[in-house]
Each structure stands twice: as structure tokens, then as C-alpha cells.
């Protein structure tokens, strides 16, 4: 049962929020949808979830249009919205019970699933607390738990780690991995955190301004920059003069300056180290470190759009 998105387009007045997006998700795989805020990820997800109709294009489940028949997909779909879609006045148990009952789950089955889900999200000891008294991370975990109750075959997660502490973030990422490995749940994971997508997704779509600008496995995407190395240098102090010299250097690209740290890409064929040392000496600034890195998804995005992912 593959989900296939064909030329999906959404226009809001004159703005193309999503422009002819094509993608697919196979059973049991994790697909990452990476892009900066406003790239069109959430709108794509909303159409994919059958929550808003597309202006053009279609989504197919087993070659059947879900625009025409959304029920087939809704039965096997769990959605974790970016917002905490829970009732703060209810306890975790009451929330799970409510959402399970609207899915028409039999009482006994629902009770069993509640136990399993509470264990999966690590809230079994806090299940009788009102959600409004939970920490941000606990709310996020319950937000995921609600989507898992009816054992969906496909799980769409829209920025599930926004605004939480690193510990909770790790817990969520591990939960997602475990769901995929143990229950073969196919997951569409959207984020603007490149490292999260890189960590859990096997295939990745990169979106910008409503369009898919790159897709494939991590290695395939990174191979866009295969002829180049990313070099990260640290300076002893900030130097505008040195940065200006680097910017004028024709062999460098994707120059990114963060105080005393500077990264840039350079052709693999070129030994740039002697040149770099000369330039730093001429500018009167000493290099503290020099590191050659494999290109990251961030570098690919920078290369493709000229902008950083989190700008």
C-alpha cells in the first residue's frame, strides 16, 4: 500500500504555497520532509492527510484517489500535528480514551492499546495527571501517543520536536525509530532540523518555496556536493578583513560566517590549505583549527538555495 503524491498544488489567493509536488512513501519506510519555515511542508502534510483539498494534483493510496475517497487513508493514518492537539483539562488517560472512542475502538481493545501507548511514550506513571500540568516534552510525547492509538500503518509527524528540551527530543526520535523498526509503521517526518531528518529518515525530500528542490537517500542528496569538500575553520579572533578576502576568492563557495567560525566549500581537487594560511597571515589573524567535513544536508540546502535552513 504505497502513498503517491502527484503534482500536488495548493494556491492561497495568488500565492502558490505548494507547487507541483511529487513524492511517494512505501510501507515501512521513514521519509523526511526537510525545509525551512514557510517552505510549504505543513500545507503538503495537510493535503496528504486529507484535511484540505488541493487546488490541483492528487494523492493516491494503492492507485485510488484519496481526494475522492479519503476514508480509506484515514483508517490507516495517524497524524501528529505541530500544535499540541490535546485537552489540557483532561488527564493523559482521559485524552487517550476520548480519541480512542471517536475512532470507534472497542472498549477492551482501547484499554489494551492505552497501556501499550502509554508505555511507548513513557508516560505510564504520569497518566492520571492533567495534561496542563505536563512539561513541554511530555505534552509532545502524548501528542504522538494519541496518533498511535488506532495502530496506523502510516504516521505523519509535523515538526514533533519543536520547543522541547534535548532529552525529550531524543526520547521522541528513539520512539519514532522503534515504531518503525518494531511495528513497521511508515513515517513521514517533517522538520527544519536537518540533523533529526538525517538521523531517522532513509529517504529525504527537501522543500523550499513550495517546491521539492532535492530528493533521494541521504547519500544521493549529499552527492550533489560530491565534488566539493566543506571546510570549517576557527579563528583566534573575528576579522572582517579576512572574511572579505575569502569572499573575493573565486574558488570558494557557500561561505558561512558565525563569529570566529567560518565554513565554505571548495573543490575536492584543490589543495586550499597553503592558500588559506597565506591569506590569514596577510590579514594578521591566526587560525585556531582547520577541519575538512563531509557535506551535510544543510550544505546541500545552502548550495541549492543560497540560504541557510534555519534562517
Amino acid at each position: 500500500m504505497m502513498i503517491e503524491v502527484v503534482n500536488l498544488t495548493k494556491k492561497f489567493k495568488k500565492v502558490n504555497a505548494v507547487d507541483q509536488v511529487n513524492l511517494y512513501i512505501e510501507p515501512g519506510e521513514i521519509v523526511g520532509l526537510l525545509g525551512p519555515n514557510g517552505a510549504g511542508k505543513s500545507t503538503t502534510i495537510a493535503m496528504l492527510s486529507t484535511l484540505i483539498p488541493p487546488t490541483a494534483g492528487d494523492v493516491f493510496l494503492n492507485q485510488q484517489s484519496i481526494i475522492k475517497n479519503p476514508v480509506a487513508l484515514r483508517k490507516i493514518l495517524g497524524v501528529v500535528p505541530q500544535e499540541i492537539a490535546l485537552y489540557g483539562e483532561l488527564t493523559a488517560q482521559e485524552n487517550l480514551k476520548f480519541f480512542g472512542s471517536i475512532h470507534k475502538m472497542p472498549k477492551k481493545k482501547l484499554e489494551e492499546r492505552m497501556e501499550v501507548v502509554l508505555e511507548q511514550i513513557g508516560l505510564q506513571n504520569e497518566s492520571k495527571k492533567k495534561v496542563k500540568h505536563y512539561s513541554g516534552g511530555m505534552k509532545r510525547r502524548l501528542n504522538i501517543g494519541v496518533a498511535l492509538l488506532h495502530e496506523p500503518k502510516y504516521l505523519i509527524m509535523d515538526e514533533p520536536t519543536v520547543g522541547i528540551d534535548p532529552q525529550s527530543r531524543n526520547h521522541i526520535l528513539e520512539t519514532v525509530k522503534r515504531l518503525n523498526e518494531e511495528f513497521h509503521t511508515a513515517i513521514i517526518y517533517t522538520s527544519h532540523y536537518m540533523e533529526e531528518v538525517e538521523y531517522i529518515a532513509k529517504r529525504i525530500y527537501i522543500m523550499d518555496k513550495g517546491k521539492i528542490i532535492a530528493s533521494g537517500t541521504k547519500d544521493e542528496i549529499k552527492s550533489i556536493l560530491s565534488s566539493e569538500n566543506t571546510i570549517l575553520i576557527k579563528l583566534e579572533r573575528q576579522s572582517k578583513e579576512f572574511v572579505n578576502v575569502l569572499l573575493q576568492e573565486p574558488t570558494l563557495s557557500n561561505i558561512n560566517v558565525n563569529e570566529t567560525e567560518i565554513s565554505f566549500t571548495v573543490s575536492k581537487d584543490m589543495n586550499f590549505l597553503p592558500t588559506l594560511l597565506t591569506l590569514s597571515n596577510n590579514s594578521g589573524v591566526r587560525l585556531k583549527s582547520f577541519q575538512v567535513e563531509e557535506p551535510s544536508l544543510e550544505d546541500v540546502f545552502l548550495h541549492l538555495t543560497g540560504r541557510a535552513l534555519r534562517n
Binding site: T50, P53, E83, L86, E94, F99, I102, H103, V146
Partner: protein, 418 residues
């Protein structure tokens, strides 16, 4: 599944102390304060103030009778019986006697006999609702008109225009008196024996009949009803706000993904509102029963009005939710609770009985949910029949249908895809 939606709405509301404070505590406090604070004023309003009537008698009745008998001796047979009869027919004496001695009349009219020289001052002072001036020779002319074919005399009545209600009462009484007296004197003139008992007896019969059969409306009764029907409106905005929060935080998306039709969700808001509204009315009336001893003899009528009012409020909650969803903001419920409830309360008579100001306002008030229900409760409390509360039932039914239809039409059939 539908029950889960309703149970969830009710649970959330009953776990919100702020909402409970507004929906239950506030009306109880206001009913208590208004009942005690305005009790004296309210009872004062119900008293009918006495009509002040002044009588200025320019003639001397006995002297006029004697004069008549003396001058008419050539035309009529003067017997002792006739003299006695004429003395019983003295028109002004009879009028004054009846107003002063009749127990029912005494409740409404206070008669003052004025000296003729004070009549102008009395007219200017406006102290009296009416001044009855009996001209000189009135009794003589009156007897002449009966026995000697003379012209009918008239007395002068000055009505105080600033006291419209009381002066109208006086005018009605005098009109009635004159009609009856004219009839009696005509019969006497025609030779029909006229018994003193057939002379007019002024009674206010119609009002007394209705007053006896009705329960008195006190301030506590009025404000129990008026505050209940006002605060029930806040349930609509509260539930509509809750519904918007569900949209804002994408809980509604989860409901749709659970394959629940948007209209099922809308009707769950409406049903939850109806249940909460009925519970609120139940609590407030139970309070009023134990504290103010307010109860209804006709429980069926009370339940019908309460159920219809609750359905109207349910429809309002659904309509406000629809507007909130359509405009993607919670403004509709805010504007309703901050402005519309106050306007409805004023027009519907929740603050004071506005319908007494004009018939137009009374009719307008009947087109507000609280106004129609308040009027219905007051009627039921005064033992009105089902026919008498039918206009209230019709108004509430029309409002309920209107709100529900608008809510269904306006609610986005979203999910795009349903």
C-alpha cells in the same frame, strides 16, 4: 462516539473554575442581591396609588329640592312619599356616598370636598387627578329635566393630563355613573317605578377577578427568572469558544481524521450546550426554591419553556462556533458575550421590565431568547394556560430553527474532503 464528544465538552466545562463562576456563582449572587436590594422598590411599584378626586359643590342639594318642589307644585302632585324619594335621588350625594362607603372604591379613590373658592388653586396645583365641579342649580335643573321636560344639566370634570392613568380611571367611573344615572332618571321620567337599589353601583369587577387568580411577582421571582435566562446565554459563547480552541489547536483535525462528519461534531456542541443549559436552569431554580420558595404549579409548561430555551441556546452555540470556524477567530463568541448578551438582557427585560415602557419594546423583547423565556416563565408562574404561553413557545421555536439552520449553513464542511 457522539456521546464521547458530548461527555468531553461537559467534563471540560465543569473542570473550568472560571466558567463555573460565571455560569453558576454569578447568577446566584445577582439573584440574591437584586432580590433583596430591589425588593422594596419592586413591591412599591406594584401598589396602585390612590386616585385623588376633588368635588366642588356650588349648589346646595336640599335647598334646590325644596326650591324645585315649591316651583313645581302646579305641575306635580307633592306627596310625602315623593319628597322622600327625591331626597334619595340627590345625584351628587349618591356619587359621593358610593365612593366613600364602597369598600372596593375606597381602595382606589380618595375623595376630598373642596370649597368653591379653592377650585382654581386646586386646578393649578395638579394635586388632584380629577376635579368634579357641580355648578349652581345642578340639582334643581336635574329634577326639572326629569319631571318638567327641562334640559339635562351637566357637571364639569377637570382631568389632570399629567396623571393619565388615574384620570382615565376617574373618567371611566364618571362616564359609567352618568350612563347609569341617565338610564335611571329616564325610567323615572317615563313613569317606570324606580327603586333606589337600581341606582348605579360603581364596582371595578374585572380587575379584581384577575388579581385574585394570579401569584404575586416579587423581586426575587422576577430576578430568578431574568438572571437565569440571561446567564444561560453565556453557555453558548463559552461552548463556542471551547470549539474554536479545538480548531486552533488542530484537535478538530483529529476529530475529522477519526472519520467524524463535521456536522456530527457541530451537533455534539449543540447537544452538550442543551444539556449544560438544562443543568444550569435546574441548579438556579433549585436554589430559588430553597431560598425564595419559588416554584411552579405547572411543571409541564415549565419544562417545555426550559427545553426550548436550552435548544435556542444550543443553536446559538452552534451558530457562534460556525462563525468562529468560518472567520478563523474566536471573535464571534467574544462579541456575543461582551455585547450581545447585554443587549439581549436589556431588550429581553433581564435588568428591568422593559416591556412596560412600550408595546413595541415588548414585542422586540419577545424576539430575544431570554425575553421570550422570561415572559413565558412569568406567565407560567401566574398559572397561565398552555394557550397563553403558545406565543412564547412559537417565538422560541422560530429562534431555535433559525439559529440551527444558520449554523449548519455556515459551518465549513471542511476536511475538504468528507
Amino acid at each position: 462516539m457522539f456521546l464521547s464528544l458530548i461527555r468531553k465538552q461537559i467534563t471540560i466545562l465543569f473542570r473550568s473554575p472560571t466558567e463555573l463562576l460565571i455560569l453558576l456563582f454569578m447568577p446566584i449572587v445577582l439573584i440574591t442581591i437584586l432580590s433583596f436590594a430591589l425588593g422594596a422598590l419592586w413591591e412599591g411599584e406594584n401598589e396602585v396609588s390612590k386616585v385623588e378626586l376633588a368635588i366642588v359643590q356650588q349648589d346646595d342639594e336640599m335647598q334646590q329640592v325644596d326650591q324645585f318642589l315649591l316651583e313645581a307644585k302646579d305641575f306635580i302632585n307633592r306627596t310625602s312619599d315623593m319628597e322622600k324619594y327625591l331626597q334619595h335621588m340627590l345625584p351628587i350625594s349618591i356619587l359621593v356616598e358610593q365612593m366613600e362607603t364602597n369598600e372596593e372604591m375606597k381602595q382606589f379613590i380618595h375623595v376630598t370636598k373642596l370649597d368653591p373658592e379653592k377650585v382654581e388653586d386646586a386646578k393649578e396645583s395638579g394635586e388632584y387627578a380629577a376635579i368634579l365641579e357641580v355648578p349652581k342649580n345642578f340639582t334643581y335643573d336635574f329634577l326639572s329635566s326629569i319631571y318638567l321636560q327641562g334640559e339635562k344639566p351637566t357637571f364639569n370634570v377637570y382631568l389632570n393630563e399629567s396623571e393619565k392613568i388615574t384620570s382615565t380611571i376617574v373618567q371611566s367611573i364618571l362616564d359609567y355613573y352618568q350612563q347609569q344615572y341617565s338610564l335611571a332618571s329616564s325610567l323615572a321620567q317615563s313613569g317606570v317605578p324606580t327603586n333606589i337599589d337600581s341606582l348605579p353601583k360603581m364596582e371595578i369587577t374585572s380587575d379584581i377577578r384577575t388579581i385574585d387568580s394570579q401569584q404575586e411577582i416579587t423581586s426575587s421571582t422576577y430576578y430568578t427568572f431574568s438572571m437565569t435566562v440571561m446567564f444561560i446565554l453565556y453557555i453558548a459563547s463559552t461552548l463556542a469558544s471551547q470549539a474554536f480552541v479545538e480548531k486552533y489547536f488542530h484537535i478538530f483535525d483529529r476529530v475529522l481524521l477519526a472519520r467524524i462528519h463535521p456536522l456530527t461534531y457541530l451537533f455534539s456542541i449543540m447537544t452538550a450546550t442543551i444539556i449544560i443549559a438544562m443543568v444550569q436552569v435546574g441548579i438556579l431554580f433549585t436554589f430559588a426554591y430553597f431560598i425564595f420558595n419559588i416554584s411552579f404549579a405547572q411543571w409541564e409548561s415549565f419544562l417545555i419553556i426550559t427545553l426550548l430555551l436550552s435548544i435556542v441556546v444550543g443553536g446559538l452555540a452552534a451558530l457562534l462556533s460556525s462563525v468562529n470556524y468560518r472567520t478563523n477567530s474566536g471573535e464571534a463568541s467574544n462579541v456575543f458575550s461582551n455585547a450581545f448578551v447585554s443587549v439581549f438582557a436589556l431588550v429581553g427585560g433581564s435588568y428591568f421590565n422593559i416591556s412596560s415602557l412600550s408595546p413595541w419594546l415588548a414585542e422586540l423583547g419577545m424576539w430575544t431568547p431570554n425575553g421570550a423565556a422570561l415572559n413565558g416563565y412569568l406567565k407560567i408562574y401566574q398559572n397561565a394556560s398552555m394557550v397563553e404561553i403558545m406565543p412564547n413557545i412559537i417565538h422560541l421555536s422560530i429562534l431555535a430553527i433559525l439559529f440551527i439552520v444558520l449554523a449548519v449553513v455556515l459551518f465549513p464542511k471542511r476536511g475538504g474532503i468528507v
